[in-house]
Amino acid sequence: MFIDFDRFRYELRLMGKRVILTPILIMIGYLLFAILLRSLKVDPPRFLSSSLEMILPLATAIIVSMTTSQDPAIEVQLTVPRKYHQTVLGRLIIIACWTACIALLSSIVLFATKLDFIPQPITASWNAPQVFFTGLLTWLGPLFWFVGVSFCLGLLVRSRSANAAILSGIWIVEILLKDYFAVTNWLHPVFLFPTTLLPLAGPIPQTYFDLWLSSRLEIIATGLILLPIGWLLLHNPEGLLKGAGEE
């Protein structure tokens, strides 16, 4: 246990404060901007929802692509007794869990201050915990999805820049074609940001809520399925070594 904790601390130091501070700084930046919006008489809940649903997952995915697909000491890593895929999985878990912690904390603050942006079926009268836990699905889905896609894509394209650009392209296309995604049934499992973009908050018809809920669950499932695929891709030392020289 001590060794594991030691390893955890070492990985944290290796990734640097930047990985830890980025989600915190994003949320602080959003909070300051929300205060500005309040002073401009613009309601900030939808804006704040975008920070959790749209911004944090993208930032996390870009960080994941930077820290898991390549390692400056990959040749050494592949010779040590601890397998490289275990090291990478550890890093991935640290980054994803840290972002999830920040997002959870932010959700609690937003819920407590009634600045949340959560859909619920119009026919149901839910209690506060039910609403809160439903709200977590707004960002859990995109977070899992982006982390999973970034993990696999980084190992496939073997370029951090290409990975970041492709993720950014997906992100922008999701925003620009939101109406098309909303009305096309087969695209619902990849419609990442419906809560903020459509927008879906407060009491909504049961049909819409069911669609929203099923697409959230499908997106979480997609993200989870991609993790073992990435794990398998990590078992390719030749690919990892080639990737190190690509940039």
């Binding site: 911004i55 392209g169 922008i172």
Partner: protein, 256 residues
Amino acid sequence: MVNQLSLFTGVFWYEFRMQIRRRAVWITYTCFTVLLLGSFFELAFNIRQFAWSDAVVNWTGNINAILPICVGVLLADRLPRDSQTKMNELFATFPGALSIRLFGKYLGSTLATIVPMLIFYASGIACIAFQNHNLLAIPFGLETFAVIALPGILFVAAFSLAVPTIMWIPLYQFLFVGYWFWGNLLPPRLGVPTLSATILTPIGGYMISGLYHIDAFPVTNATPMQGIASIALLSGTAAGVLWLLWRYMKWEQARP
């Protein structure tokens, strides 16, 4: 003078070759092309609804709404790479001026990064020329690219070269994409303060509306002067950023 010119051409072509041979550039544009195929087919199927010149302008606008993201993200690691590979110290011992080296790097890597973009753009222009039986679409397409897209690309490229010298690359890439949405595509009617309705938008709305008289979200009825002002502001800002970068690198070189 001759030495500086040969240095510039040397750096320019070296940077061009280095960037255009990167797998990352071609993989990224291939994926973006797949994402934009819908836009391409929309152009191909609805082409007869517009005058050919309007179709060219719309196609340039569509391309310029998304593909500069590739330019911004793919150029972000060019200068930090020189430091990582310990080339900066070596370059500092060479007789050539830093400003020429920097300018050659900027133009060479930018041109190489937009080559795949130009290929995809040219396929759309060829489609318009073919369906309208009008070869004038080709020179007009070159003109609209130079007027609508190029100032924004130069603007984006300057920032992408400069900012990562003081910022972590993934953070810059993330902020750049966020900026692209906030400063270009966010509707001002939402009430969130944004640059998307100002002339400082690399997406080219003021050029499209002011110079070609086609409404381009979120800009409507812009004057030709506003279009020209937008071009001047974007190009001037790019030049200013490059100048600041040159001063910063000189200061960094002079540090003990």
